[in-house]
Symmetry: C2
Subunit: 353 residues, 2 copies
Amino acid sequence: MHERLLADFEQRKPAALARAVSIVENHRHGFEALLGALHSRLGHSRRIGITGPPGAGKSTLTSRLVALYRSRGLTVAVVAVDPTSPFTGGALLGDRIRMEEVALDPGVFIRSMATRGSLGGLASSTREVADVIDAFGFDRIVIETVGVGQSELDISRTADSSVVVLVPESGDSIQTLKAGLMEIADIFVINKADRPGSDRLRNEIELMLGLRMGATFKNIPAHHGVDLKRLANPAKLARDAALGSEAEHWTPAVLATSAVKNEGIEPVAEAIDRHFAYLEQTGALRERRWRRLRQRVIEVVEHRVRKRLWGDSTTNAWLDEQLASLDSGTLTPFVAADELLRRSGDLLTRMDS
Amino acid sequence: MHERLLADFEQRKPAALARAVSIVENHRHGFEALLGALHSRLGHSRRIGITGPPGAGKSTLTSRLVALYRSRGLTVAVVAVDPTSPFTGGALLGDRIRMEEVALDPGVFIRSMATRGSLGGLASSTREVADVIDAFGFDRIVIETVGVGQSELDISRTADSSVVVLVPESGDSIQTLKAGLMEIADIFVINKADRPGSDRLRNEIELMLGLRMGATFKNIPAHHGVDLKRLANPAKLARDAALGSEAEHWTPAVLATSAVKNEGIEPVAEAIDRHFAYLEQTGALRERRWRRLRQRVIEVVEHRVRKRLWGDSTTNAWLDEQLASLDSGTLTPFVAADELLRRSGDLLTRMDS
């Protein structure tokens, strides 16, 4: 076990944080024990998701927010899962230098997530890395993702507050923007708002919000409590995220910024604070965090099942032996699956050390 | 059970095919029994994947290929999972009318897959629908997907031969094209090849192919047999798809077409035939199909596990009871996951009726 690391971590040594994050991100030996040891320290950080199409200026907005939070004495971590972000090394030199200045500040922690390989597990790893940072005691965690697919939306859903950044040019294509991107937004930021088309974009967002609020009032029962049993169903979970009990009370803010010129950043920070206060007062914060914890258990269970089944040589050898029968048609995948599960019972139910 | 349906299906009644596809696509009651009953009939159809960015002309190319195959007396099914495709109702009226002409032909079957909801299960549903069509005895199945994300690549990987369609305009952005799109291609089609930039695109593709071949020679062991045990690992599976034993022998064709003008379609059909002949001769066809069967069993197992665990009210109630302890930090998600699996052993290993 990582006892020395944990001791250094408790003394808030930056190197211990970096190492713990690496162990967890790469699922190195002992990462579960490490996360388990840190688990009781969770809950201090406010998690802010920043999502939007490529080129919307998410990274610039993030760096402005970081500077603003620092000026207020708050510590900030940035977790970037955006391949076009300077945090992940994908952008112009100027941006990168600007970030490196911030990076010299011990009150700032920056980590980019490797997006190589499948996106499937990225939402789960991002959540785990954010947990480590939370346990370390950072005041704010900004999770920056480029909003193009389901996985990125999943990542953004792990935040307490989600900011969706658009630019006037997005107006033309707002219809084709993934509906999910619109649904997760607690706050809309129209960046580069001095460009033509800014007003039109605002109108389109507000029109869409009007439709969404209308749908919410129609479909949501009167009581506010999330029925946790319903959350087991992923489709319902997604719908809850869109039409959750919070949504009928919180009207997403629509704010204009010019992140490059450092204009309009303060109102964004204020809207995030207001949203967090709203979450706290209505009990929605606890609901979101409980939902996250529930989702964490589900992820761990499914990961365990996959690892135990497909990492087991006996199971694989048995499956290989069935391929000829599957091919000739005498065995169906359904019968094979049932038999595989029957044979693998001990694997699935054993305790991990 | 669907006995009457199966009898009609065996008599090749078109209505039975349409109904069987709907039952399977929507996972209606008895769909597994139906797929199980059809399983021994699999293996006649050649499955052709057509993938590419929006606007590349995939649907026009597909309709030209359909017409060509029909002129040769072959039956053809189209499974469209592309929201921009006229097959799925997303395109111009002119295109749709052209497709409706084809649709009157009983030797053609067209089905669009609903893309509403998560893409997660779409690769698996597409494969199941293709299985039904295969069992019905169609000569060719064209699976058309818009190539933007991991799920679409997964869909395309279920085909025997994958055609990637690009347009000269793609040249500017070929670097940003998902690497996976380049890796799955058995055949590249440069559509709208009379437009400027066509030669440049061809050069870029061939340069990329050169790099890919180089990598293949370096990384692939000399023997040709796929080690089926390695396929259990999804990451390795993906790498095998990219650097599979076939890849070192098959040099992807790069062909120019103007699908709108019906030019260059025959060479595409020929390249597909050549690729299929190559797959048959080298044994790679059997490997691909066994890999597909293996993947089917894995999907069914994981689907069963998810349904049994998260569809069970006792498991959900137990999980809900742990949320307070998880929140206070006295219980970690890992301990909860282990305990949940221990308690759910019977659920996981029981046989489905």
